[in-house]
Symmetry: D2
Subunit: 377 residues, 4 copies
């Protein structure tokens, strides 16, 4: 694979590399690892890229890799840059015949997202969006159980993603992660709503199979001087009549990353918490709550197909991330081999989820700007 | 004490009696325990009331008790009837010189609440509203820490009260608790919002010392045939600029009663969960989360004054309830003795909280009826 | 009831009074509340005892109460003194026809315990030993499930009772609870083993229905200057071939009182933890762990009969304690009324459990003295 | 690297490969993956080994790899076979100049362990034993805090490793993991004691820095027909006077793998639980318990050096395992480069821990055979 972004000073690039490496079947062989060409080259040296495939810019990467023989060139690129540099490299990749793994939110704007979706549809290339949380085996179990109807019609969803790391004016210190994420020129129109709100939205829609059709969002910027939102409380309504609450925050001081989702149907429901991702609480109207655990024999087929260790050997974030890469790579490999991929490998977030996320951002921000009026998606 | 309501078929009456009895200084000596005079008498016999003080109606109770010598008559009544029978007995009690303990929500309507507040002010009698959760020692600790400013300015509050017991059309089976709580003639204009929403509102305002000034509520009735709301998701804004989410539900299948509140300030915050009421999580921006436990030496004075057992000996709901009774009784006793009560005993919800709760109900229901528009409190 | 001990400076006396009071059917009317007659009288005044029934000594109490008319005298005494003053007042009570509630460990020595058992058998009076933990509804549920055979033959038991409050030489400061508990003249031959080890032993035998037949104990005194043990690790073997571990400690710094028991059978097992006494984890070989909760409809009859509040309203230590008092009082009342008590009320620890506890203490201490050799019970 | 064992039907081999791959700097290039040469070859094909380095036997592997030029041959082998095939390939590796990663318990017998230790000492080659749990960052934090003396002198250690997967006579079904682990010819003299007891022992000694000097073990085989122990309860004494309990089980029905350790000193202590490996509870005598979390700024240097993701992104078993591989590989690399390794990389279990584990097994089994007498280590 090739990587765009993810060099010195980055956070998520290393995560992608570890996630891609965990199954031992993906090698990083090319990169344009930083917007600054000098740092890009140094970053490539850090990672032992061969000099001839350690590129100064992503444009150069696509140009040169396209000219390599088919069995030598990269099969796909991972785009792990800030949001404003997602669309263009993705476009170039697709136009040059490379499959794409892309960080979320998918693009800088909804317009870009729609253009990208069109391009993916036209080229027929494989595109994966790294909504990591959907890579957890337990999320697949939740989805299977909910969509099987075992809980009856879904009535209520509560999804939350509180963080505390932007409780202070961290971007004023030059901290790189804070700086671009709070910069409208790089992050887009949303701060917390784009960075983590889309995860919450994606998680809710993915596991319930429902669509948010309307929302009402109280969007705030608590830290003085900050240019984008750092907190949002959102009422949501789903296409089947279910109601819900989605709240995200970067100013919930003391919180790390405890993504949490609760779904309630007529007969029971589930709770999953990223803090302990191998556990899911399954609640019932009239009998004891059950505690589902990954790696056990009673887990469904999809969860089992995405678990690497036996029960009691905790898997984490990198393994969930790795599941997206593993599936994506298997589908790419099947494509290369001219075969149909195994159905289980088709399970990763696609470009359509990316469009959905950008629509969500637009709706939340519009609602916030209108003092929390209801907006249809 | 005397009791109005709480006879056969009731739930909360027995809780009041146990809470009142736990400190061994309050005796039930009179009652009009049921709206049906025959059942009232039978209920009184169950509880070994003397026949001459086992009344058929609350009107009779006040008439007869008023005629007893001062040192023989009851000092106060506990009103544990459905909401529509709160105001009139409370009024009669106050007019006849009796102090009052009253269930929440305080009245059937805001008008009644305001009238009652006026009467309490005029008579100067002691009035306690049984918002049980504020009786927990850990809630007093939370209030003390938050209001001391140790967390800086409060920015966000998330308070939730999910239940699942009305997931089915239980009132159609004749189950008594369900029947009156879902009946607009007895419960008032709100179902879940009145029964448990007021608890959530009271908890949030009590521990933060802030006031909700505006809210936007998505109020639902999920169970077909039900006459009142059984779920509400509410965006809230506080007078200091803090934002929050309050959600309550009676259709969250599988949930018991896990009242949960999280408060975040600039430097940290707290989380308290009624499931484990003797524990509070204290979160900080830059250091490990602390786990506060009741009965320990580091707890504040108010929490210690409301704890009966050493650390590690869990206290529960009845002890929290008992704290309201204990404090109320101590203030009544001080009044009888012509003394000033110890300040710690003044800590129980008053008639003003009751008015506040009724305002909250009105605002939520109005917002819900207007398809979740913002309503000022 | 009358009370012996439990006056000023005491801890457990107040617990007994609250536990006895919670159901509103037991009144404290007499007492000899302290070994020092002056303090005894002051303590009785604190509790509003009538002067004529506020006794200076327990001898006086029994003498005077015996002379009262049958329907005026106390029905029973609660003995809440240090261990060396259990036997004699219990003996006097029984000889004078009073039923007895007694703190654990039951006596100062096994000899006293056997004598007391004989006396209870001869007089036929009702005797309850306050092994509080067995009063929890969830313990009754555990016992019912285990003894029903649903888990198959029991193979392993792990029971632990760690505390940290004696991590320092607290008795040197004059702290009353520490002082008598570490004094061989008042506590007996055991410190932690008697005070909390007997609780662990009682819990294990009560819920499994098995008997410990052999044990090997490593008994330690970690705090310099202390006269009795403050830690013990014990290997145990049961009469059905099950094995186990029992460990107790008063020097596990930072621990409050987290009594914890795990029982494993061939097909599954249970875990119960006093920190969250309303919850029990039920584990199975091949299906998800279940989380049992008190107050729910799926709980067994005995657990339900010992629960006061609906599910989700946590009960605690005082309610468990109150269950022992409630049952004891119901049996005493049945005796007075010449009736058979309801079977559910017969469920409280008897004098035989007290003898068993003293045998356990003797065996553990003997094993410890012999450098942890195996001792048969 | 090369791998010995870990082919078709194996469990831990894949874990080693993922752990080695996670940091993208170790490639599997040679193997003798099964005791059956045919299956060995098929297993190598599964993993895309080049045919010329896909060996039929480990003897062949060492013979052929030794003949390759130095910069083409493997640097080290991973030995992931059953216990009886640890010593001989390790010996051959060392004699041929290859560094070694070896599964635990280190050998089939103590004699082999001592011989291996001698050989490692003589050759000066790098040897790592995969006691995975010590790879967790939080274990490094525990070790740092305990050994810094912040808790005072250590008094008590409770370490447990309960599993339930051998509750039935699983080996009779041909299940491969069960079969060799319960076979004295392959596993050695111990079953549960060797497989997981050594983990518990290693964990206790590693984080406390203390040595077990004496133990008393009640060793059991509960499942009829089983040839080795499946449960052991052990009293332990440390060289500083601390006491403890170590218990392991394969018949604790319903348990997965919840390794748990508690260490208590004079002023406080820690608890760590593998179920939630990124969390450690730090308990104090006189202040609230603290909850340490990996990835946070307050963690010590060694913990930080072994953490890959920011706080709130859970790491698991594979990452802990990967830490052993990463460190081992860095030390090997330094050796190749003729440099001193960074001190942090020297942190992995060595051959000496392997000898220690075999001594522990011998002592526990001897104690068990003598009906739980005390045995000195």
């Amino acid at each position: 694979m090739g990587m765009i972004g993810g060099g010195r000073g980055a956070f998520i690039g290393a995560v992608h590399r570890m996630a891609a490496g965990i199954d031992g079947q993906i090698d990083l062989v090319a990169g344009a690892l930083h917007v600054n060409p000098e740092i890009a080259l140094l970053s490539g040296q850090d990672l032992f890229l061969k000099p001839e495939r350690n590129y100064r810019t992503y444009q150069e990467l696509f140009e040169k890799e396209s000219q390599l023989p088919e069995d030598e060139r990269i099969d796909f690129v991972s785009i792990v840059t800030p949001n404003h540099v997602h669309y263009d490299p993705a476009r170039l990749a697709l136009e040059n015949g490379f499959h794409v793994v892309c960080e979320k939110p998918m693009t800088y704007s909804l317009e870009e997202a729609l253009a990208l979706e069109k391009l993916v549809n036209e080229t027929g290339l494989v595109f994966a969006l790294t909504h990591t949380y959907t890579g957890y085996p337990m999320i697949k179990q939740a989805r299977e159980m909910i969509q099987s109807g075992v809980f009856g019609k879904i009535r209520k969803v509560v999804v939350e993603y509180p963080q505390g790391w932007l409780s202070t004016f961290l971007e004023s210190t030059g901290q790189e992660q804070a700086t671009w994420r709070t910069d409208p020129k790089r992050s887009g129109k949303a701060g917390s709503v784009g960075d983590i709100g889309t995860h919450a939205e994606n998680l809710a829609e993915t596991i319930t199979g429902l669509k948010i059709v309307e929302l009402c969002a109280d969007v705030s910027t608590f830290v003085e001087g900050r240019l984008l939102d750092d907190d949002a409380n959102v009422l949501i309504r789903f296409d089947n009549g279910a109601k819900g609450v989605l709240h995200v925050s970067q100013i919930s001081a003391g919180e790390e990353n405890p993504v949490n989702i609760r779904v309630y149907g007529e007969k029971g429901g589930i709770q999953w918490h990223q803090h302990d991702p191998n556990t899911m609480y399954v609640k019932w109207l009239d009998k004891p709550m059950e505690v589902y655990r990954t790696g056990t024999g009673y887990m469904g087929a999809m969860a089992q197909a995405h678990t690497r260790t036996p029960s009691g050997h905790p898997e984490g974030y990198l393994e969930a991330f790795g599941n997206i890469y593993r599936n994506f790579a298997k589908v790419v490999q099947a494509r290369i081999d001219g075969k149909e991929p195994e159905p289980e490998f088709l399970d990763f977030p696609t470009v359509h989820y990316g469009v959905r996320g950008m629509q969500f951002i637009d709706a939340v921000i519009e609602s916030g700007e209108k003092n929390a009026q209801w907006i249809k998606l």
